[in-house]
Structures are given as C-alpha cells and as structure tokens.
C-alpha cells in the first residue's frame, strides 16, 4: 500500500475513533439499526491491524533476535492463558451472531488486560507510549463491540470471579518465557484482528437491511 494511502486510511480511522461516542449503538438514543455500528467496528479492526503492524515491529525489535527474525515461529509454550483466535472453519461458520460477538468481546477483554501488563513492564519510554496508544485503541474496539452487542440486544458476558486475567511476572516466569508470551500475545492479537474483521464483515452483510426496510422503519417511527 502506498504511504499516502496509509495516511489517508489512518486519518479516516482516527475520525472514526473520534466519533465513537456518537455511535448510535452505544447511545441507543435513536434506532438506525446496528448496521452503521457494525461497519464502524469493522473499520476499527482494520485500523487496529494497521496500528499493530507498526507496534509489533517496534516491540519485536525490542525483544531482540530471534524474535524479530521474519521466519521465527516458535512453539506455543507457556502462553496457554491467551485466548486462541484460530478456529476450525466449520466451527466458525456454525457460530451464531451472539456467540461470535461474545467470543470477540471476551478475547479482546483478555488481550487488553495482558497488553496493559506488557506496558507496565516495558523498559523504554517510546515503547510504553506506543503500547499505551494501542491499548486506548483496543479499548475503543472493545467498546464498539459492546455497542454492537447492545444494539443487537445481546447481554455482555460477565467475567467470572477469579478468572480475571492478571499480570503477575513471578519468579517462576523466566524472562525468556515472558518474551515468548509477549510474542504470542502480539501474534494472537493480530490473528484476532483478522478474525474480527472477517466476523464483522460477515455480520455486516447479514444484518444490512435493504433500503426499503430502512425507509419503512423510519416511517413507523415517524408516526
């Protein structure tokens, strides 16, 4: 993608973020349907993908070789608590909207928590700034998903007491395993963003009402 296009996309998505509070699905004041908020959520996932690409480059360089080598593909050790994005295609297809959104919401809740822990541990100021910025964006995505769920009338998943992921770099967790966890966290984040983009695209197509239907609904509200 040319640089100019990237900036254009960036600017566009920043605007989207800015207008997040105005997402009707969040406000629930009017009822234009969940379509626009799904579209915005989809856009936000794409923006986060872009942002993560930049963050991951910086962070993997900070972790040092071999983590920043392009063909580095370690086995997934010690990162079992991270929510896995990979799913069987048939299983994914068979997911209903509620389950789909719930899984997204839960995954990002966990990932955000881990990411905040990452931020606390980062040694350089620049890295902390980048991570903090990304955390803010991810928080926005989480809010957006919550908005879509609310618009569709699904309840938010309640976190079970005691299962809240915590960031506890104890002595049992060596620096190397910590780095592996960081690596997998970034990797899972990326996979989740891909998956979410697909999820929301699917949802968008499914929910998108025909123009006539919209008109009818508006008329009904008018009277």
């Amino acid at each position: 993608m040319p640089t100019g296009d990237s900036w254009g996309l960036l600017a566009c998505l920043c605007t989207v973020l800015w207008h997040l509070p105005a997402v009707p699905a969040l406000n629930r004041t009017g009822d234009p349907g969940p379509g626009p908020s799904i579209q915005k959520t989809y856009d936000l996932t794409r923006y986060l993908e872009h942002q993560l690409r930049s963050l991951a480059g910086t962070y993997l360089n900070y972790l040092g070789p071999p983590f920043n080598e392009p063909d580095f593909n370690p086995p997934r050790l010690g990162a079992d608590t991270l929510p896995r994005a990979t799913v069987d295609l048939d299983v994914w297809r068979s997911l209903n909207d509620k389950l789909r959104l719930t899984q997204n919401y839960e995954a990002y809740s966990h990932l955000l928590c881990y990411l905040r822990g990452l931020n606390r541990q980062a040694a350089t100021a620049e890295l902390r700034r980048s991570l903090a910025h990304f955390c803010t964006s991810l928080q926005g995505l989480l809010g957006s998903i919550a908005g879509v769920m609310a618009a569709l009338g699904y309840p938010l998943p309640q976190p079970l007491p005691g299962t809240e992921p915590t960031w506890a770099p104890g002595p049992a967790h060596s620096d190397f395993l910590q780095k592996m966890d960081d690596f997998w966290l970034l990797k899972e984040l990326q996979t989740w963003l891909w998956r979410s983009a697909k999820d929301f695209n699917r949802l968008k197509k499914k929910i998108q009402p025909p123009a006539a239907a919209v008109t009818l609904r508006l008329e009904a509200h008018g009277f």
């Binding site: 040092g64 983590f67 086995p75 100021a125 190397f176």
Partner: protein, 1095 residues
Amino acid sequence: MDIYFCLRQPLEMVDSKRMKTSSNFQWLLSSFILLCLMNQVNSQKKGAPHDLKCITNNLKVWDCSWKAPSGRDTLYEVCIENRFNSCYRSEKTNTKIPALLPGDHEISINPIHNHSSISKFILNEENISLIPDTPEILNLTADFSTSALHIKWNDKGSAFPHHSNVTWQIEILRKKKMEIVTLMTHNTTLNGKDTLHHWSWTSDMPLECVTHYVRMRCYIDDLHFSGHKEWSDWSPVKNISWSPDYQPKVFPEDKVVLVGSDVTVCCVIQEKVILAQFGKEKCSLIHLDGENVAIKIYNISVSPTSGTNVVFTTDTNLVGTVIFAGYPPDIPQKLNCETRDLKEIICTWNPGRPTGLLGPHNTSYTLFESFSGKNVTFKRAEDPADISYQLFFQMIPNWEIYNFTLNARNPLGQSESTILVNITKRAVYPHTPTSFKVKDTNSTAVSLSWYLQGNFAKMHLLCQVEITKSNSVQELRNVTVKGVEDSSYFVVVGKLSPYTNYTFRIRCSTETFWKWSSWTIEKQHLTTEAIPSKGPDTWREWSSDGKNLIIYWKPLPINEANGRILSYNVSCSSDEETQSLSEIPDRQHKAEIQLDKNDYIISVVAKNSVGSSPPSKIASMEIPNEDDLKIEQAVGMGNGIFLSWNYDPNMTCDYVIKWCNSSRPGPCLMDWKKVPSNSTEAVIESDQFRPGVRYNFFLYGCRNQGYQLLRSIMGYIEELAPIVAPNFTVEDTSADSILVKWEDIPVEELRGFLRGYLFYFGKGERGTSKMRGLGPETGHSDIKVKNITDISQKTLKIADLQGKTSYRLVLRAYTDGGIGPEKSMYVVTKENSVGLIIAILIPVAVAVIVGVVTSILCYRKREWIKETFYPDIPNPENCKALQFQKSVCEGNSALTLEMNPCTPNNVEVLETRTVVPKIEDTEIVSPVAEHPEDSSEAEPENHVVVSYCPPIIEEEIPNPVADEAGGTSQVIYIDVQSMYQPQAKPEEQENDPVGGSGYKPQMHLPVSSPVEDGTAEDDLDDTAGYRPQANVSTWHLVSPDSPRSTDSNSEVVSFGSPCSINSRQFLLPPKDEDSPKSTGGGWSFTNFFQNKPND
C-alpha cells in the same frame, strides 16, 4: 644381632618435593643395605619375622606390621627393649604400639612357638610414615542459582596431639566420565579439636546441566614429626545433580553478568539440539551427558535493552534464556546536596557510566545520613527517559550538618559517594521569588515586594535589586532583609529620578552566600512627576524693526523637566510695568512681546502637572560696545568650534555665545550656549553644524544684567573646496597681452575662507584635441600658472603673448578645504602688423640679392659655362666609322620588326582590384585569378586591358560558382605557363588555389544539414576548420541533391571512409565527370548520413 629392616615403599607418592628430598635418599640407601642383610639373614634363618614396617596416622600410635612365613598360625610377642620389657602379643603379623620417643629403639618380634627365630629390629621415628586418615565429606550442597558448591568436612583434629598445618586437596569432576574440572588446595590448621570446615566453589557451568563430583584428601605437615609424611587416600566421591522435570530448560536463567566475562549456557533436554544461538550468532555445541548441551560465550558485550537471548532449537522445540550483560554501578558523580527552602534537602548526582542494565536490574540508589541514621531510597521515575537523579531528605529541625552517603547498587556490584554539608551556611539555594510588585513611594522612591517560599526565620536574606533606567543604564543594589518563614518581603528603593521609566527585578540568597536564586520576572515602572528642577535656558533678541523683543527658550532636558512640561509662563517686568504671557503651550519655545527700550527683566517659567520651575531670568538691555568689532575668522574641528577669550572681571553674570547660519536670511539666531562667567573658552557643538557652511558666532558678556557683544566671529566647522569657479571675463586683448577680470564667488558656494585663485593659461584652440590636454593637471610644459593670493585682486593682465594666437584661460578659486572647479575661456590675441611686413620684405630682399649676384657671376664666367654645359657638337656626316655602326643598328631594328610584324592585341583580364595593379606584365598570371572563389568575388566590369603581341590561346573554364550565381565570366589569357612551365598539368593548376588561399588542408563536411546548391558552397568557402586535402570546388560539383548522389550510394561502402585523409578518392578529385568512382567518393559521406534517416 645387628639387623636393619626395610620400610615399605609408599604406594603413592604425592607431589610434595619437600618430603621427598629429605627422606628419599636415606630411604634408598637403607633399603639397599637392608636388602643385602636380609638375604644374609634369610640364608641363615628361614621362617623368622622380617620386613617390619610402621606407619602412623595420628602420631600417637604406630601401626607396625611385618612379614612371616606363611601357613602357620603363630602368636607373636613384640617387645620394645628399652621400655622395661614392655611387650605386646599379637596373633597377626601386625601390632600397634604407642609412639616412641625420637631415637633408635630395639624391637624384638618373637614367634612364641618358634623361639629359635626371634627377629630384632632397630626402630626410629624417622622410619615411620605419617599417613593421615582418609577424610570424609560430611556434606555437599549446591546453590543452583549461583552455580556454587558448598563442601563441609571434619578435620578430626582431636586425634592429633599438637597443632599442625593441614593441606586439603579438593577435586571437582564433571560428567559421568568423571572428567576433572579443577583441583583446588585449601590450607587449615589442626588445633587439637575436631573442627568443621566449609569450602565453596563456583562453577562456570550451571550445575543443573551436568552431574558434578567432589572428593578430597589431606596432608598433615607436622613440624615435630621427623618421619615420612604422605597424602591421605581420596575420600569417597560425592556428587550433585539436578533432577530435571520433563520440560526442557536452559540455564542460567535471567543471569546478569559483567561485560567482558565468559559465560556458559547449557540446555537440559531430552531431544537432540540442532542449533544454539546467542543473539544473532550461532554457537558451537559442547555435548554433556545425554542430550544435554552447552555453549560458551567469550568476552560478552553489553546487552540490548531487553537482554540477549540464548536459544536452543530442536526439531520440535525451542528453549532459551536471557542473559543481561552490563556493568556495576559507577561511583555517583557530582553528588551535591542543597536546600531551597530549609525544609527539604535535595541531593543530586550524576550516575556516571551507564550500566547497560534496565528494568529490574537497574541501579538502585539509597541516600543515608549517618548522624541521624535516616535513609531514603531513590524511586525511579515513571518515564525512564525523563530521569533526574535526585533524592529529597527532610531536614531535621535545628540540625545543620549532614553527612550523606549515596549508595548505588545493582546485581553486579555497588558503589558509594559521600558528602558532608553544613546546610544553613553553604547549601541554601533559594527558590525564585514570586509575586514581585513595584509600588510608588514618591517621585524618587519605589517600594518592592515579593514572596519567598522557605523557612528563613533564623537568618537574613541578601537580595539584589537590578534597576535598569530607560533600558540602558543598569544598577545593582544589595539589600538585606530579615528572613521569615514563607512570607512576603518589602524594601524601599530610593535615589531614583522622577518621571523615569525603570525596570526592576530581584534575586535572593542567604547572608552566608551560597547561590543566588533565579531572577524574578522584570517589572517596568514609571516614577511619578516632580516640579521641574530648573527654569528653561533663555535668550532674547530684538526684532529687526527694534520694536519687539523675541524671547527664546530651550525645552528642558528630561532630567530637569521631571515630568511632562505642559506650558510656559513668560513675564517682562521693569520698574514701571510688567507684561506677561501665560500658558504658552509646550511645543512653542519663543514668545514676542512689544516693549519699549526700557530695561526689562524677562522671566520664563516651565510648568508640569506638579508645579512650576524656578524662573529663568534675562535682561533685555544690550550694552553697546565702545570699539568697532572686527569680524574674526575661525575654523572648527570637524564637529565643533573652539572659541576662547580673555578673562574679563567685569563680566559678572555669564557669557553667551549665539550662532547662526550667515547665509540664511532672517534674524541671526540658530542656537546659543551659556557658559559661566569664570570661563574663558568654550567649545560650540551642535548637530546642526554642517561642513562647508559659514556660521557667525557672537560672544556676549553679561554685566549688570545686560549683555554686551564682545566678539563677532565668522567660521566654518570644516572648510571645503569651492563648489563653483569664479566667473571671469576678458576685458581687453592686444597682440601680446590679455586683461582678465573676475567676480567674487558667493559665500554659500565658496564653502570656506577664500585663500586665492589659480590662473592657468596656454596656447590652445577650442575644439581641438590639444585642448583637452590643456588642463592644470596635465602638467603641460607650455601651460603657465599664476597663483593669486591677494583675494582682493579682481583683474589680471597676462603679457608676453604671441599675436593672433588662441589661448586657453582657466581660473579656479581655492580655500583651505581644496581647489574648486575650473572655468575656462579661449581668447585669440590680436595680429601684429609690423612683424608681418618684416616677414614679407626680408625674403623678397634676399631673393633679389641672390638673383643679382647670380647674374653677375654667370655673366663673368659665361665662356666656362658654355664649354662645360654646351660644347660644340661635331657633324656625324663627317664620320665614316659611325656610318657602319649606324647600319648595324638599323639592321637589328629592321630584323626585329620584320620578325614580329606588330599587330596590336588586346589582352582582357577580368580581375579584382587588388590583383590587377600587381599585373605589371602579362607573363605573370596569378593563380588567384583562376580560383573560383576569387572569380566569384570579382566584378565583371573591373578588367585591365594589356596590349601585347604574342599569339593567344583561348580556353573556357567552366566556373560552377559563377554559373550558379547567374553570371558568366570568360577568362581569356595568354598561355604563358605553357611557355615557361610546360610540365605543369591542368589538375595541378586546379590544386593551386588551395595553396593560394592559405593553408586549407581539410574540408568542411556538411554532415548534419541537407546541403543545397548555393548554401553548401558558401559554407565550404567560409569554413576555416578541418578540411580533407582535396580540391574543395570538386566536392561541390555533385551535390547530395543531385540524382547521381543516390545512384552512387551503393558504391560508398566500397570506397571506405570519405573523411579519411589517406583516401585516394578524396585526394584525386574527378577530372572526368564520367568517372563514377570519383563522383561517388566526392559526395558519398554526406549522402550516407543524409540517407540514414530514410533507411
């Protein structure tokens, strides 16, 4: 019996040379003798005990053994002869006996059932071996985190009777193959008690990776024992191993090491490791037990921020660890502790060399105060980039001296720095004062107030006020105020000028100065007005009609006005009346009052918003001068003029010098200056003075309230050269003199005091080139100069001139500033008639006299002249000899004429003008005439006709140039060459023009442009550049445009390069137009390129 026994050779010899050297030689000798004797004894007595050997392990008991014939169970009685028959029975061939005193002791061993074979031995301590008991490792533990082994054992010192030095050897082995890693020595002392010893060793390889084994032995160096000392046996081996879980692991984990050290990293794994990587580098593997491997990293360099990764890769797995290489903390530098508010001490420092360790391994700092025992710990800032190394320590009340120690610590070490500080005396650096305000007190004083945070209650503050007056003059004033706690302070700053803009700022320190605080922000303040301190400087002049008195005054300078002057009051008072003018606005600085000639005192008062100035008084009376005043001259110094006068005790008030521009119309007043009555000189300076302008200065003296004109001076600040020349006219002209008269130059154009004129005169006529050189500067020898220094002279008569001659006259004026421009005039002197007459008469008279004298001479010598110049001629008819001569001459003439009956011919040559005059004879035929170039330039009408007799040959040369130019020319020439140069060939003639028109060896090749008939030729003719050595004209015979050029194109290649000088195609131009080769060579090159784009 005299029998000696052999001592047993020790099984193992240790590396102690000290022991060997003393005893080995004796032992060898003894052994040798003993062996000899044994043989003897054995031969005499078979079956008797022999080979008695004794050892000890505690110096208290000797354990002796001997050899006896086998196969018999015998009871032995061992007796020590010197000890009152102390005997010991033993069923074996050994027994323990108490240690014997030094010296020889006879030992008899008696097999009880065989009395015939009693053996006797001489036993000495020197023959006893001291072999300590085998030590035992009581405890072997490992600290895996530090890779340290801790060994614990008992020295069993209670068994020894006295103090001895013990050397312990501890051997570390590794791997199942028991490869020796190291052998260490440890020295202790036996002190008669059982003592536990500890010893630690740190492994370079993590202990988790491979089993480590330890064993030890000892050597007792008892100074009292004279026998042979040997190492004990090795203790039983103990080992340390790590029980791995099923997960592969890499050791050491998260280790911090010093930069430059060597590190071994190992991997405990069940799979085969295929690759080990340290950072980006691949490392060679060291194989340990099983599949475990290790790598060794030498001279490790500083790690990046997150440490250096060490990774072991198997086919299915990847394990690793992180190594942090850095430095121990540097000694904290520039440790400085000071307080800003006397409540809290701030200690700052520079960490020095970076450790290269971040995060949890970063350096931690602790500040410890030794008198109070308090300490504070450095908390790292949230943002590591914005780290400032400082710690805050709460001051202890009434405590002045603090001894701080700053300790820096990281996993690699620690360092510290100390400072002893008397906080109240040498360490107070106050905060910047805030709330700085300026308030008026009066017109010359303001009060300053500010707030200073801090507990200064027990000291004085020294503050510095910077006062800047009108942004230029700066003044610093120190003020001392009594300190209070967190309070505002006030000071009054006096000695200021009224109505003046000041800028104030302030900074503070304590009285025991250490550091100034920063300056406060600047505050501008205008002090209030005060009454004007003086009256204005006043002068008066009578108007030109003498009826009005004009009163002048100068505006007050700002430091005397003390405010904004609003108006002036003028009053004139005499004994009889008083006139006054009030509220004259500020911008007006003169007033006119109609007064009679009485004496008046004029008073001027300036007023501002606060009040009026003291009146400034001046008398109207002018005291007449008794003498006529001479006008003096003075020249200034560039920027002013210096005036001086004699002291006059009559002058009681003051002197006034007024001046004006003399060239300006109107009343003479430009400015004035007052000087005290005791002065005798003054320098008048003014911005209005200009160089080259004449000023009049008038010095007045004040006496009895009246002014008297004392001197009148005319002067220049700086003289310049006159700007114009004087106008002059010729009053009278005679044959030898000219009378010149000139006018004065106006003062404005003179620009200095006139010092004279320069008058130049010399011969010269208007408009001739000579005139231009006839200037005063040219130094022409015939120019005369007259310097007229008498400036009153206005005429000049120039005498001794030539009559009827034009003279140039130049007049210039000069001042001390230079010579002005010139003005010139031409004058012709009148004719001198007498001279003319004389000039005619004298030559006529001379001619007449010469004629008369010649006539007389010729008449007298007429016979001689006739003989000389006109002798008588004899008649040829009377001479026969001359007749023959005559016929010969006639015959020749007749022959010649007969041979060439002369028929006049016309030779008509068309030739250029330049060439034609050279043709003096028809034999010279210029080759230029044949050159086509020249032919083209020739004018057809311009021809010379030479008459001659020889027969003619007519040849028509086709001239393409002439043809194309539209004209024809026919050259008809006499074939002279055929007569004088019969070998010359026509082609050589054609080549001649090349040489005739200068060297043109190369030909211009019209490559780039399509050549047309006319232009191509012009180009070639004009070109003086590179040309092939060929007849230029022939190249033009065929142009590329001609049909033949395309026809012969195919032949071009075979001809080679047309531009080659060696090419014969070029050198031999075609004489015959039918020759295809010549034609092709002539144009092919151009054509080649011409056709190229069409290909």
